[in-house]
């Protein structure tokens, strides 16, 4: 079963927050993923197994109730990337059936998980663009993250 994977260099970049503020490794994945989602499918990136660390196979702890929302957000991006309109029932069905698996604890098929991880891998590069240096304090990180996220989404909407 495919698992969430996070880039090794992303874990290093979040080193201070992992030591002092984040309670979960998955927080690193989450902020990378959301940055990737904000930037859109064109920033998706593959990463080799050697360059990534394996995380959990299901949405952990505080992310458990938010897992389906994250999958929903992922589906909106993938449908858009494939040019599938929500009126095209058959195409929507095909894409959803391919990416989602009810048997998986993370609700994603193996292919779905591969694509899901690509948003996080590419999202780390987006974070590097947003921050001049690696984050040292949580408050500073969160405020800068939100500011850049808003700016990024405005840019995406405008373009």
């Amino acid at each position: 079963m495919a698992r969430f994977r996070v880039r090794n260099d992303a874990k290093m970049w979040f080193k201070d927050l992992l030591e002092k503020s984040f309670k979960l490794d998955f927080d690193v994945f989450y902020f990378c993923f959301m940055a990737g989602i904000a930037a859109g499918p064109e920033r998706k990136q593959s990463a080799s197994v050697d360059d990534t660390a394996e995380l959990v196979d299901s949405f952990p702890d505080k992310y458990k109730p938010r897992g389906k929302l994250l999958v929903a957000l992922f589906l909106t991006q993938e449908l858009e990337a494939l040019g599938v309109a929500m009126t095209e029932k058959k195409s929507v069905h095909t894409v959803v059936a391919r990416l989602v698996s009810p048997d998986s604890p993370n609700y994603l098929s193996d292919e779905g998980m591969r694509e899901f991880n690509k948003y996080a891998h590419g999202g780390y590069e987006v974070l590097r663009d947003w921050f001049e240096d690696r984050p040292r304090t949580l408050d500073s990180f969160l405020r800068t993250f939100k500011r850049n996220l808003d700016a990024s989404l405005k840019t995406v909407v405008k373009s």
């Binding site: 290093m12 050697d50 929302l69 957000l73 909106t76 069905h93 059936a97 969160l142």
Partner: protein
């Protein structure tokens, strides 16, 4: 396990030889030890021998015979378009029948094999007989004068081949091939030269040295940093001590310090709460919330998931009638099954519905409210951070004033600033050891985990190479042993066979001075290339008698004209040798061979000899005489008589064509 093969008989129909059936078994079905079949030249003796070889070797299967060659076997002037040759065998006491079917129209032959399990298409003798029942070996037990010539022909390898096959020396060659194949498979994906291993070992040593050096440097820097931290803490104590010497200033500083620390703590707490709020993806941005909601409403609009799941239709397709009461035939059933695939499974339906419910609960009421709420939290945090910054600035101002008023405080502060710079520098120096960037390569990166992983991978690879080299050394030793075993086995067996065969040849031809010198692919005779046809046949008998006598396997001998080319003087000796040569001797003879051969053979055998005469119809006197015999069988074009007196009275050597 020794292989024991006996011929029980054969049958020919629709072929160039007269239709006939020969039994090589007694009245109780036991294989006869000696069977003499007298056929005048021209009645299809060679054809029958060829058919026996082809049936026993499977040499005509899979279109190996050309059409013209197949058609050569068609009965002359006949209208039939097919023919059959069937050989009945006893293989290790089990009956096996191999049949060749000739289709003269298409020029094709196909085989059938009947064994205990029933009749199967194709040539399929039991496995333990396959090494004897093939093209190269059959000629050694179904043979004629040509074999003797082949055994002595330097350009052929028949003699060596029969020795290797009978004594299974080939199995050493097969073991060698298996060892070579195994090695090839193992070595295919691995570098194998010792030079490669040495290079890898040297590289690995360099990497280990680099890792040791970096670990030492990291340990040194960590120790230096710890010393700096200790000095920093001591210096802060000194600073606090100096700055608080004056009471009024001390009170103001403590108040400012407490305020700054309290606000810092509040900022950390607020940030923790904000982090939890930001874990809601729909709170991060209204555009995310809107996208999720649009997904939900879009799915509702296209009715995904449907109210019916795929399983409903699959179950319906299995029913004899539809829910409307109409019967479901196979065509409709197939359509329902195909269209069921367009529906989601019940698990998919449940998941998609749960997702829609979660979206509804999160953003159904409002897509902007979650972000607004988050922004409120952010604003509160911003405010708190500003307050904390201001409190920190107030504290800094008080500290600055104290430093200006007291040089000792100033000095302590400068020392602290210097130490903090040094600690930061050490932190930066130590950061490089935690690099996860594998793209730089071991020689350039400082990432300790990267190097450790590379070393681990390299150690694994080196272990594989080392194992492969070890295996190669073992392979070389094993190949040498097998080569030596093969050579010694061949030489030893060949030498023993030569000595024994020469003893027999000496008995057969005491005055001819013919000896086998050695087996070097062919039989090499001492001092000469070969003798007369009769002498060569005698050498072949001597050689084959020795071979088959020494082997555990028992095969029949089917021989064309066993005595014809041999001098009358030698014939009795050959006749005495034959019963020792094999457990079953089937010979095709002509009447002129009887003299000084048949009586001696019967005497030496010590058992009943089957006398069979087979000739093509055409001479009425002969036919009438044959018909008077009690054991005769007549076909459209041939008569077969069983019996010694008819055999001995038969005087035709060559069929009269007419």
């Amino acid at each position: 396990m020794p292989a024991v093969m006996r011929i029980l008989g054969w049958k020919a129909e629709g072929l160039r030889c007269p239709d006939h059936e020969i039994s090589c078994a007694d009245s109780e079905g036991r294989p006869s030890q000696i069977v003499l079949i007298q056929m005048p030249n021209g009645t299809g003796k060679t054809t029958t021998l060829d058919l026996l070889r082809a049936t026993l070797s499977g040499s005509a299967r899979d279109g190996k015979w050309e059409v013209a060659r197949v058609k050569e076997y068609q009965k002359k002037g006949a209208l039939n378009s097919d023919g059959v040759f069937e050989v009945r065998l006893l293989l290790n006491d089990k009956r096996v029948t191999i049949i060749m079917y000739f289709d003269f129209e298409s020029g094709r032959i196909h085989y059938k094999t009947t064994r205990g399990s029933g009749q199967e298409d194709g040539f399929d003798p039991p496995n333990e007989f396959k090494r004897f029942l093939h093209d190269n070996f059959v000629n050694f037990f179904v043979f004629d004068g040509e074999l003797a010539e082949h055994l002595l022909d330097k350009t052929r390898t028949d003699a060596e081949l029969v020795v290797e096959a009978l004594f299974q020396i080939n199995s050493i060659v097969n073991v060698r091939q298996s060892v070579a194949d195994y090695w090839q498979t193992k070595a295919e994906n691995t570098e194998v030269t010792e030079g490669d291993a040495t290079k890898k070992q040297l590289k690995l040593n360099r990497w280990r040295e680099r890792l040791d050096s970096l670990l030492a440097e990291q340990a040194r820097l960590t120790a230096e940093r710890e010393q700096l931290i200790l000095r920093l803490e001591r210096q802060r104590d000194t600073y606090n001590h100096e700055i608080q010497k004056e009471t009024t200033r001390s009170q103001a500083l403590n108040a400012a310090n407490n305020k700054a620390a309290g606000l810092k703590q509040k900022v950390a707490e607020e940030a923790g709460e904000l982090l939890d709020a930001m874990r809601d993806p729909h709170a991060l941005s209204a555009s995310f919330a809107t996208a999720m909601f649009e997904l939900k409403t879009g799915l509702d609009r296209v009715k995904l998931p449907e109210s019916a799941a795929r399983e409903f239709f699959e179950e319906l397709a299995a029913e004899p009638d539809c829910i409307c009461g109409r019967p479901i035939d196979d065509e409709i059933r197939e359509i329902i099954r195909q269209r069921a695939a367009q529906y989601m499974g019940s698990d998919d339906v449940a998941l998609l519905n749960a997702m829609k419910t979660t979206i509804q609960e999160a953003v159904g009421a409002s897509q902007v409210e979650p972000e607004n709420s988050l922004n409120d939290q952010l604003s509160a945090l911003d405010k708190l951070v500003a307050e904390a910054t201001a409190a920190r600035n107030d504290l800094n101002e008080l500290e600055f004033e104290a430093e200006r008023a007291d040089p000792a405080v100033k000095e302590a502060k400068e020392e602290i600033d210097q130490l903090e710079v040094e600690v930061n520098r050490k932190d930066r120096d130590l950061d490089k050891f935690e690099s996860a960037d594998a793209s730089l390569g071991v020689e350039k990166t400082f990432g300790i985990e990267v190097i450790k992983k590379k070393i681990k991978d390299s150690e694994k690879k080196l272990a594989e190479i080392t194992q492969t080299i070890g295996m190669k050394q073992k392979r070389d030793i094993l190949m040498e042993i097998l080569e030596s075993a093969y050579t010694k086995a061949r030489q030893g067996i060949a030498s023993d066979i030569c000595a024994e065969a020469n003893r027999r040849i000496q008995e057969l031809m005491p005055n001819n001075n013919i000896m086998i010198d050695r087996i070097d692919k062919s039989l090499v005779l001492s001092g000469q290339g070969g003798g007369s046809v009769g002498e060569n046949l005698s050498v072949a008998y001597g050689f084959l008698a020795t071979l088959f006598d020494r082997s555990d396997h028992q095969l029949p001998f089917i021989v064309d004209s066993p005595a014809a080319p041999i001098d009358l003087a030698i014939r009795p000796t050959i006749a005495e040798l034959i019963p020792k040569l094999t457990g079953q001797f089937v010979a095709f003879t002509i009447s002129s061979e009887r003299d000084r051969f048949v009586p001696q053979l019967e005497a030496a055998a010590g058992t009943a000899v089957e006398y069979i005469t087979l000739f093509r119809k055409g001479g009425s006197d002969l036919e009438n005489a044959a018909r008077k015999e009690p054991d005769h069988a007549e076909t459209d074009d041939g008569i077969r008589v069983r019996g010694k007196s008819f055999f001995n009275d038969f005087q035709i050597d060559v069929e009269e064509v007419g």
